[in-house]
Amino acid sequence: MNITLNGAPRTVADGASITALVSEVTGRALAADGQATDGQRLGVAVAHNSEVVPRSQWHGTALADGDDVELVTAVQGG
């Protein structure tokens, strides 16, 4: 199925969770609680159709065709 990630089209597996998407994009393995399994802080957040999804809910949130996802992190600025 197709979603929009950070403004660009992206294909993900049917019914993929936010955890799966974040893990795929960041290249980090994630536990069910949304924390990185390497022990380092992940430092990213997700808005799903303009609603912020706490990382504890990533695992239980399935993406649907046409969804809009913003994945953000800290960068230089301000």
Binding site: N6, G7, V25, T26, G27, Q40, R41, L42, G43, V44, A45, V46, A47, S50, V52, P54, R55, E70, L71, V72, T73, A74, V75, Q76, G77, G78
Partner: protein
């Protein structure tokens, strides 16, 4: 090395932490990160500045980006203050703050709601709205505001954790254009006042502290200096010097000269 004498490092002579939301910040210099050409250079400048708190923007994650700013701050033991830079509306600022809280695991936020890209001045109406919403959602709001004593008090009354009046517009390096207003804001505030934006060089930061500000926040003055690390160090000392001068109490300004040497006992020449 002989075993008889071991020099112990001198204890900090006078701890003068800035306490915000129960957290003691050792340095009264809050750093921004915008404008640095490289992450390595930025790290060196931050370390040289001695900062304990540094603000970062939130943007779309890019796998191509090398290195993590967040990890850099974590590695240097610098607390992170996410900001809402680039937000023009209360709605965007609130969403950005929510994302920052999730990503960086802090409820501190530097609230920046600007009116337009030309002036980068805060939009007072949206700022007040966003402050109210964020305070209600449990955020500790560091409100970037105009040098307006009335607005600063409004933000404090809405529950802002700190008010951050600008010295002059972001990135201009024009220094503090209205010192009188900054003094007025300080004299009426019951929350920390942080001079934010417009700082050009070390003396501007010293002046901010002399006016009674609790801290200074700056980015461009360091990140775009010819030698960012050296400028970071200059600001470290400037903030300390200004704070000491404020506490020491300056002499009053006078119209006429006042001799510091006694006239009595002078030699007389015939």
């Amino acid at each position: 090395m002989t075993e008889s004498t071991t020099l112990t490092p001198a204890a900090p002579s006078r701890p003068d932490s800035l306490v915000i939301d129960g957290v003691a910040l050792e340095s009264r210099l809050i750093m921004g990160t915008g404008g640095a050409p490289s992450l390595d250079g930025l790290g060196a400048a931050l370390v040289a500045s001695g900062t304990s708190l540094t603000t970062v923007a939130m943007r779309r994650y890019s796998p191509a980006e090398s290195g993590s700013l967040f990890q850099l701050l974590v590695d240097h033991g610098i607390r992170v203050l996410p900001n809402t830079a680039g937000c023009f509306t209360a709605r965007d600022a609130v969403l950005t703050a929510e994302l920052a809280r999730e990503a960086l695991e802090t409820d501190w936020v530097k609230l920046e709601v600007i009116a337009d890209e030309h002036t980068l001045l805060p939009d007072a109406v949206e700022l007040v709205d966003a402050t109210e919403q964020l305070v209600n959602r449990g955020f500790k709001v560091f409100a970037y505001t105009n040098d307006d004593p009335v607005l600063a008090l409004r933000l404090e009354n809405l529950g802002a954790t700190a008010v951050m009046p600008l010295g002059s517009p972001i990135g201009t390096g024009l220094g503090i254009l209205n010192p009188h207003n900054i003094e007025l804001i300080v004299s009426r505030a019951n929350v920390p006042v942080v001079l934010d934006a417009g700082i050009g060089t070390a003396s501007d930061a010293a002046l901010a502290m002399e006016l009674g500000c609790d801290a200074v926040l700056l980015a461009t003055a360091v990140t775009r200096a010819q030698n960012p690390a050296r400028m970071g160090e200059a600001f470290k000392h400037a903030v300390i010097a200004g704070r000491l001068a404020k506490e020491a109490g300056r002499i009053p300004r006078r119209e006429h000269a006042l001799a510091s040497s006694a006239m009595e006992g002078r030699a007389e020449f015939l």
